[in-house]
């Protein structure tokens, strides 16, 4: 497997996933969860690349432990335990053993018209796909990259994929032209707002005293089409076990002028979203699944947000 391949392309395989499914069917969720602790320990102990990818976030979140690999490893282990739990919950939902789902502040999601729903790789985020089942007739589009390990994909938590479209981020313009057209038609578009597709336009925004890169596309698409951008978080609560989908107030967007929207006009929206991520990570530090080297504790520049490397929309087509 190439070193620059996505982490989820080289972690897990059909046998392992099949084994966990069998365990869940035969022994139930609790047995599968207990066994997942062993697997999480194995990865925490031996997967150097995954540790390295998670360490950037962990150093920001736990600055007091940033200098100790041993302590960071412990945080990594706890994070992997939570990741395994989320995957099991997601799979459980996908086979129809749905957990109770509550909604908080649904009022922020308009019932009709175009809307950008901004998700993050946080907590039980796959369960937020369930909101597609609550779309009340509106067409839902999700911008996503194909997962390379069959059975581990981001749609695990959905019993059926009917009723929504997938816009590939690997197509022309990273799928942004298609997403924009969908918004114009009054459809919903779900975008991951916490980490950019490699090479995509992004802003570096404050996060736990350091900075992280987040994509500009959710805010640009919403501003350009005059639709709200609503951050949504799906959280697993364990006593009793249930999912809570939390809708946040729409993030204020810049006026769309008769010229291109500049990165510095979009970056305040990205920064506000990063604040929401920081709050979420503050409450549940081991449920932030941000594996990547695009976080740092470098001094934040005077203009904390700037556009990163440009990408050629034509080249993204495979």
């Amino acid at each position: 497997m190439k070193e620059n391949a996505p982490l989820n392309a080289s972690r897990g395989n059909r046998f392992g996933i099949g084994f966990f499914r069998l365990l869940m069917h035969c022994g139930g969720f609790g047995v599968a969860l207990r066994f997942s602790r062993i697997v999480a320990w194995f990865y925490a102990r031996f997967d150097r690349r995954a540790f390295s990818a998670a360490a950037d976030y962990l150093k920001l979140r736990f600055p007091e432990d940033a200098g100790s690999e041993k302590k960071l490893r412990r945080h990594f282990h706890l994070l992997l335990n939570e990741l395994a739990k989320m995957l099991l919950v997601s799979y459980r939902m996908g086979i129809g053993k749905a957990l109770p789902i509550g909604e908080e502040d649904r009022k922020y999601l308009p019932e009709t018209g175009g809307v950008v729903v901004v998700l993050a790789h946080f907590d039980c985020w796959q369960a937020a796909m369930d909101l597609m089942n609550r779309s009340r007739g509106r067409v839902i589009n999700i911008m996503a990259r194909a997962d390379q390990v069959k059975g581990m994909d981001k749609f695990l938590a959905l019993k059926s994929r009917s009723g929504f479209n997938v816009i590939s981020t690997e197509g022309f313009s990273g799928g942004l032209v298609e997403a924009s057209a969908a918004l114009e038609r009054g459809e919903a578009v779900i975008i991951m707002g916490d980490r950019p597709v490699p090479g995509a336009a992004a802003a570096e925004v404050p996060f736990f005293g350091g900075k992280i890169a987040v994509p500009l596309s959710p805010w640009m698409l919403a501003a350009r089409n005059g639709v709200p951008a609503v951050p949504v978080f799906a959280e697993l609560h364990e006593d009793p076990l249930k999912i809570v989908i939390r809708y946040c107030p729409p993030v204020p967007l810049p006026e769309a002028p008769g010229r291109r929207l500049r990165a510095e006009e979009l970056s305040p929206a990205a920064a506000q979203y990063a604040q929401l991520l920081e709050e979420a990570a503050g409450r549940r530090p081991y449920r932030v699944f941000r594996f990547g080297g695009d976080v740092s504790r470098k001094d934040i520049e005077k203009d904390p947000c700037h556009k990163t490397e440009k990408i050629d929309p034509m080249e993204k087509e495979k």
């Binding site: 313009s173 942004l176 032209v177 769309a256 291109r260 500049r262 929309p313 034509m314 080249e315």
Partner: protein
């Protein structure tokens, strides 16, 4: 190339430079057969959306008419030809 096409291309080049805020470019720098992205004008994926919005606002072309049509964006000439053939204003 007839005069109408030539005049339209000139107008579109000026609109593109103005809309996309290509500070270091003029309409004369936009070559007909040059790619819009990468080594050509160096535009990115957000610019692709901006071009679609420009087509909608200034030429009345709905976004749905250009989705899944990457060939339109290959060069300035392909873009200009498409807009000229489909504009409603």
């Amino acid at each position: 190339m007839n005069e109408d096409v030539s005049a339209f291309r000139r107008e579109l080049k000026e609109n593109l430079v103005d809309w996309l805020q290509l500070m270091d470019k003029t309409a004369d720098d936009v070559k007909d057969d040059e790619p819009l992205f990468k080594e050509g004008l160096g535009l990115d994926s957000l610019d692709a959306v901006e071009i679609v919005i420009l087509m909608q606002r200034k030429y009345g072309i709905p976004q749905s008419q250009v989705e899944n049509r990457r060939e339109i964006f290959a060069t300035f000439a392909t873009l200009a030809d498409f807009i000229m053939a489909n504009r409603t204003k």
